[in-house]
């Protein structure tokens, strides 16, 4: 019952978020210079031709009217048609989304796989080789932009040593380099947090109890302390995952991957209002859903927080 109420509350919040974001994106995209009718009609078009295009794509009616009718559409989960290609925006997103979400998932998993063990090791063996290694790793990870890392990885592992394909899609292998470029910076953040959290937990009193109980050091560290140390890590990892959807836009460009990012980027270039609006709202909804799942997961692993 409590859980149902929690879900309802979050849904309401989601609707509000979408409403606010839709308003902002609707007006912002129209304020920036550029008219989709001009893009479609071409530079040589006459006034009449341009007006005809406007009438077709619906930018001839007053702004308020456009806005209301568009809100009505998204309330029915219909993002309309692309102003440029005329294809359904829903269909375009549906085609591109699997690639982007796979990329983000692989990125975050790579990040977790690198960061959590290294963070724990850094905390357990403080001031050892692994700790310094972890520090250097996270410094670099936070300082290096992901697109640059992507280019370097391509040069190294696709051109100089052709282990991975240079571009294209079709196999998991195509996604490893982009996922790594995307996950590297996330790993840096997760690593720092894991280390800090683990160091803090190891200094807590219940660790003394665990030792006084005669448990082995492995049990003390990896059963007692780690369980508590991972609680904040889950939240941060979830938020990082949300950011990855945004980060994917750049990485898809570097690796020429036909994902959501590229779709929306071209939408912006061509002033494809409906596509950009639909894309932004879609990302916002996915981001909110991820946060919701993280909150649920957090309450599962942290017994002190029960959903209420």
């Amino acid at each position: 019952m409590k859980f149902l109420l929690f879900v309802l509350k979050r849904l309401l919040r989601l609707v509000l978020t979408v409403l606010i974001i839709s308003t902002i994106i609707f007006f912002v995209i129209r304020v920036i210079p550029g008219d989709p009718a001009l893009v479609i009609a071409g530079v040589d078009a006459s006034e009449e031709e341009i007006d005809a295009v406007r009438a077709r794509i619906g930018t001839d009616v007053p702004l308020g009217e456009q806005y209301v009718s568009w809100l009505g559409d998204i309330a029915r989960f219909d993002f309309g048609e692309s102003m440029i290609s005329g294809e359904s925006v829903n269909k375009l997103i549906y085609e591109r989304f699997p690639l982007t979400i796979t990329l983000a998932f692989m990125g975050i998993i790579l990040g977790i796989v690198i960061a959590i063990p290294l963070g724990v090791l850094s905390a357990v063996k403080r001031w050892s080789f692994w700790d310094y290694f972890g520090m250097v790793f996270s410094q670099i990870g936070m300082a290096v932009p992901s697109f640059w890392l992507g280019i370097i990885l391509l040069l190294l592992f696709a051109v100089r040593f052709p282990i991975f394909p240079l571009f294209g899609i079709g196999s998991l292998k195509h996604l490893i380099l982009p996922a790594f470029s995307l996950g590297f910076a996330r790993a840096a953040v997760i690593l720092r947090l894991t280390r800090a959290s683990m160091v803090e937990e190891l200094s807590k009193e219940y660790v003394i109890t665990a030792r006084a109980k005669g448990l082995t050091e492995t049990m003390v560290k990896y059963k007692h302390a780690l369980r508590n140390a991972l609680i904040p890590v889950v939240t941060i990892t979830g938020i990082q995952f949300g950011y990855m959807l945004g980060g994917a836009i750049i990485i898809e460009q570097v690796f020429s991957l036909p994902g959501l990012g590229r779709l929306f980027l071209y939408g912006i270039y061509q002033r494809d209002f409906t596509l950009v609006q639909g894309g932004v709202i879609f990302i916002a909804v996915v981001f909110s859903l991820v946060n919701f799942l993280v909150d649920v997961l957090y309450s599962v692993i942290n017994p002190r927080i029960r959903i209420s």
Partner: protein, 327 residues
């Protein structure tokens, strides 16, 4: 066979080296008999927690250095065991109860698991045996008939229940020695009494010896068979409960007792010991208590008094034991 299960002899522990060296424990002799509650009383900084932590084998070395001494548990010389051998005695043979159960219990682990993991590790029980034993333990510590406790997290329990769980964890492997480090200090007064009664009941039932660490003389009076008073890393007086509470001889013990508020002293000014506890880096020379002692004479700052037998089982370390004491 003298029946002692713990025998500490001439234990000296210091922290740091050189200029910063602090001698926290400076030659302690202490024993706990089978089935006995022996209290170690002192103010904070007197070395009582360092001593008990050392007996548990949980003293971090460095910074701590055990300079000399022996700690004998039954026939085992604890200080000569390997780390792994000591670990195996912890929890199983020698167990410990801590001051604040809400901090000393793992917040992210169910109470049941915190009990059963010990049974499985030390006694090799399987899951269902351990669960059965855990239910018996709950019964022993007064949480019987409430098996829901096993699937609760510590924060879902009250302070008193948490301390009962803490005690349950400590006794679940039937240890012969229990170290209780201020187990009632963090509790309400009404709960204190319940927990003390529980500890006494368990001592009777399980026959374990208890080293009871406290600064609270009222609690010590209620629970102890024997009492040792520690000041600045040395035992200054040791004797039966009656010896210490009815005929104290060391000036420090006398002053401590005078500072307990009780109904009989109502209306009179409460005595406080002037000055403050010296810290371990700057213990005064000679008898460490002499700067605060009303009986101190010139010789007290020169040499350190040794424990002197007053009568069988009662001794004190003071040069002025024969002097007249006036309150």
């Amino acid at each position: 066979m003298n029946g002692s299960i713990l025998e500490i002899k001439d234990l000296k522990i210091s922290f740091g080296t050189g200029e910063k060296k602090a001698s926290a424990v400076r030659g302690i002799d202490l024993d706990v008999m089978k089935g006995e509650i022996h209290s170690l009383v002192g103010e904070s900084g007197s070395g009582k927690t360092v001593t008990s932590t050392c007996v548990m084998g949980l003293l971090p070395e460095p910074p701590a250095i055990i300079e000399s001494g022996t700690i004998k548990y039954k026939d085992l010389e604890l200080l000569s065991l390997t780390a792994e051998e000591r670990r195996k005695t912890r929890g199983k043979e020698i167990a410990m109860v801590f001051q604040e159960p809400s901090k000393y219990l793992n917040p992210a682990m169910k109470v049941g698991e915190q009990i059963t993991e010990m049974l499985r590790l030390h006694l090799g029980m399987n899951h269902s045996e351990a669960l059965k034993r855990a239910i018996e333990i709950l019964d022993l510590v007064g949480l019987g008939g409430n098996t829901r406790v096993l699937s609760s997290y510590p924060h879902e329990l009250s302070g008193g229940m948490k301390q009962r769980v803490m005690i349950g964890i400590a006794i679940c492997c039937n240890p012969s020695l229990l170290i209780a480090d201020e187990p009632t200090t963090a509790l309400d007064v009404t709960l204190q009494l319940q927990i003390l009664k529980l500890i006494m009941k368990l001592r009777r039932k399980l026959g374990m010896g208890i080293l009871f660490i406290s600064h609270d003389l009222a609690v010590v009076h209620d629970i102890s068979d024997r009492v040792s008073v520690i000041y600045a890393g040395r035992i200054v007086e040791s004797g039966s409960r009656a010896d210490i509470f009815e005929s104290p001889r060391h000036p420090y013990t006398r002053l401590l007792l005078a500072s307990i508020p009780d109904a009989a002293k109502r209306g009179r000014k409460l005595a406080a010991i002037s000055g403050r506890v010296p810290d371990a880096e700057h213990f005064p020379p000679g008898c460490a208590f002499h700067p605060r002692c009303p009986l101190a004479e010139d010789g007290c700052s020169q040499a350190q008094p040794e424990m002197e037998k007053i009568r069988e089982g009662h001794s004190a370390a003071c040069f002025c034991l024969s002097k007249e004491w006036t309150e």
